[in-house]
Amino acid sequence: MSDEADTRNVPESAEAVGMDAQGAAAIMQQAGARASTELRIRRPVLFVTWGLAVLIGYGAMWLSVRGQHPFKGPAGPTLLLALLLLMIAAIITAQIVDRAASGVGGRSEVQRGIFVLALLAGYAALLIEKIALVGAGVSRPIQVVLGVTAPMLVVGLVFVATSASTTGLNWPRLALGIWLLAVAAGASWAGPVTVLAVCALAGGGGVLLMAAIEPKLPRP
């Protein structure tokens, strides 16, 4: 054990005191409730955080490109706002996951690692692809459509691919993944201006809706 210095055999007198069935039931309920509260990742909070980040981030960019003639793309301050929201959401996510998963090892730890690795690899690949496209002289409208929908495609695919585990199917993750894939694919047809509004409302709104639905869905 990690605390070998304190391996004295403590008398079990306190534990040996008779515990009736009612007392045992109360202890089970308390311990179960505490473990559930402390060890479970608060997904609704994560959904609200990311839903708002997408809604506000893409929404602000849409407001900045609405009515642009010719199309130049989202204004610099809105890109900075989106970056700031992304960072805040990432920090909140890290804190919530760390609070719940601290000390928890095994399969869940491996699954979390694969989830993060898949997202990072996907975004890295997207960044390299975008640099290549800009270098090849792709027009600004196409850059915006790809820049808005491709990250949503990556997140959707990672959600779908990681929704199954040995303990069962993570329905909220699967449903949200499929929804984000549908939104990203559908929004691509909307053009460089409307794509931002569609992704803000359908993407961010979908994530926010999941925050309300998730507690009611079956858990793996």
Partner: protein
């Protein structure tokens, strides 16, 4: 059937808390000694005593990674331990059903 028929390896407040806490994790997951101690609220010595008793019955396994101050001890419920807790819960439910209001179920 009486309280004495309940699995005595589990039927102690601290060990019951340990078993229920570990059962709240999915199969294949483990919990560090320090996090378990934080959740259960026992001294390290007391926790070790109870863990040894549960380990002797085959209900949990402990595993140490590394050595010295950087070493991390993890604790996990075995399949047998999970089954034992399910049996314990079912028996407890029967006892309470025969005596009064039903026990609220726990995730096992």
């Amino acid at each position: 059937m009486s309280d004495h028929d309940l699995d005595q390896a589990i039927h102690a407040p601290a060990r019951l808390r340990i078993m229920v806490t570990l059962a709240s994790l999915p199969d294949g997951d483990d919990l560090s000694f320090t996090r378990l101690q934080d959740l259960i609220g026992l001294t390290p010595g007391n926790l070790i005593t109870h863990l040894r008793k549960l380990e002797d019955t085959g209900y949990i396994t402990t595993h140490k990674n590394g050595a010295g101050v950087t070493g991390r001890t993890s604790v996990a419920l075995t399949l047998g331990g999970r089954a034992a807790l399910e049996r314990y819960t079912a028996m407890l439910r029967e006892l309470l059903d025969s005596a009064g209001p039903p026990v609220t179920g726990t995730r096992t």
